[in-house]
Symmetry: C2
Subunit: 291 residues, 2 copies
């Protein structure tokens, strides 16, 4: 598949990647909706992604899915398994699933995920779901590439919910209590309701799903559409796109600099203190000969 | 406490930080052992860290503990809770506990964690335990700062263990099956045994603990001592220290560049493609006026 090959070229940092990216049709990307899906392991993100995809397909939307696998060999398997379960869409040519690891790749993960989004959109995907485990700085950065972010939670995280609530609205547009059939779901919903100061906002942005049984998924999609529309009108979406562009740009730039800095750091005898060594490293950059 | 204040100064990127870091006694850091402790949430890392600390204290070792909290508001609470449980060492002046978040701080996390290690060592800590959840690129990078790494696992991760096994020996010196009293522990142990091709290595590097009951902790400490000795003799430790130094240096350098790059990226009208925009950004660096 052409889209898959294009993403691989970028991930492998192949020489053709630059030409490919610069040649992409930007209009389609501007019109596509990028939906970030995050939350702790076990909340049912992949099941929800699958359920959303089925519903989007019924509405004849072409869907792109980007799964970000954590870089650790310890937990890598968990998401990988989820990915495979999601592959029952594998035979549908209008669903493109792409999984990328945060480990052992050239280039920043934001740069790579951003490029994958652009390629998927140019390939015709009208909605792009980007799924990531909400742990780790690089994973949270990825969410900043999305137009809208869904935070998927489930009962059973105990007292951690209290620490979690602070700041949750900074990262999430929609709070989804998944596995709503499990004991504790109502309590979690009530608990999350307290983070909203405005009742109308709460009713719009907080909801329950049982993704495994397709319950609440239609409502979720309605809310996504409503919020996307609102963000488009009030300029939030445009602002987020600008921020995402800057984030991707800086990520590319830093990753372009990293090998050169690493090489220099290994070659030169530097100060025993790494902070001072870094200043010495950057001082060499000032000469303009090292870049 | 002086050590705590010093770490805070660095984390806050205070003007005094540079002078402080450059003035540190490096001999003590060279002699200290940095032990990385990683593994999935729920494996019992913090309990094991606590049990190891108690045993090290009995041997009159001064212990520094650095806990890396994941940056996500979702899971931040989990580790924070663990930290607090560990605080029963809080009244022991020879145990320094330091928790740092990966989110919302100035400077790279490797740079910050590296600086904390150096400050703790200079303050007299002979062994430094650095605990991190094994998810996310930045968290895995931190483990590369350690002299030795312990991977803590527990029964109940199901089939994920299969995907996990690949590459586990690249990141871990010791594989610890914790919660060895739970059903499935023996199966996990047998399963992990298959990653070793050498029986002697397996017997040295794979072991069981039940940290909550202090079982197996003495043996674990013996193995740590043995492996540390071996790494010192065969040059592995020196090589890891050199790599860690380079990693910290590059991390500092990139973080020093990031604000300037971000500012530039926001000011200048760049190409629609972020990769090309990054090249344009770096071209401006070449003039030597932007650094």
């Amino acid at each position: 598949r052409a889209i898959g090959r294009a993403v691989s070229l970028v991930e492998d940092n192949a020489p053709e990647a630059a030409t490919l990216l610069e040649g992409l049709d930007r209009t389609r990307f501007d019109q596509a909706l990028v939906l970030g899906i995050t939350g702790p392991p076990g909340a049912g993100k992949s099941t929800l992604t699958g359920a959303l995809t089925r519903r989007l397909r019924r509405a004849e939307k072409r869907v792109g899915i980007i799964g970000i696998d954590p870089s650790s060999p310890v937990t890598g398997g968990a998401l990988l398994g989820d990915r495979i379960r999601m592959m029952n869409h594998a035979l549908d040519p209008d669903v493109v699933v792409r999984s990328m690891a945060t480990r052992g790749r050239l280039g920043g993960i934001c740069a790579a995920a951003g490029a994958a989004m652009r390629i998927l959109a140019a390939g015709g995907c009208e909605i792009i779901l980007i799924e990531t485990v909400g742990i780790g700085q690089s994973e949270m950065d990825i969410i900043r590439l999305a137009d809208l972010t869904l935070m998927v939670l489930a009962p059973g995280f105990g007292d951690d919910i209290q620490a979690m609530k602070a700041g949750i609205l900074e990262v999430a547009d929609l709070l989804v209590v998944n596995k709503a059939d499990l004991p504790g779901a109502d309590k979690l919903l009530l608990d999350l309701a307290t983070v909203f100061t405005d009742a109308a906002e709460r009713d719009l942005r907080l909801l329950e799903t049982t993704a495994g049984e397709n319950k609440g998924v239609a409502t979720l999609l309605e809310r996504i559409t409503l919020l996307a529309e609102r963000c488009r009108k009030d300029g939030t979406l445009a602002a987020r796109r600008r921020n995402a562009h800057a984030l991707e740009t800086v990520d590319w730039a830093l990753e372009m600099l990293r090998p050169r800095l690493t090489e220099l750091a290994e070659q030169v005898e530097h100060a025993p203190d790494p902070r001072l060594a870094a200043e010495q490293l950057l001082a060499r950059f000032k000469t303009g000969t090292e870049i």
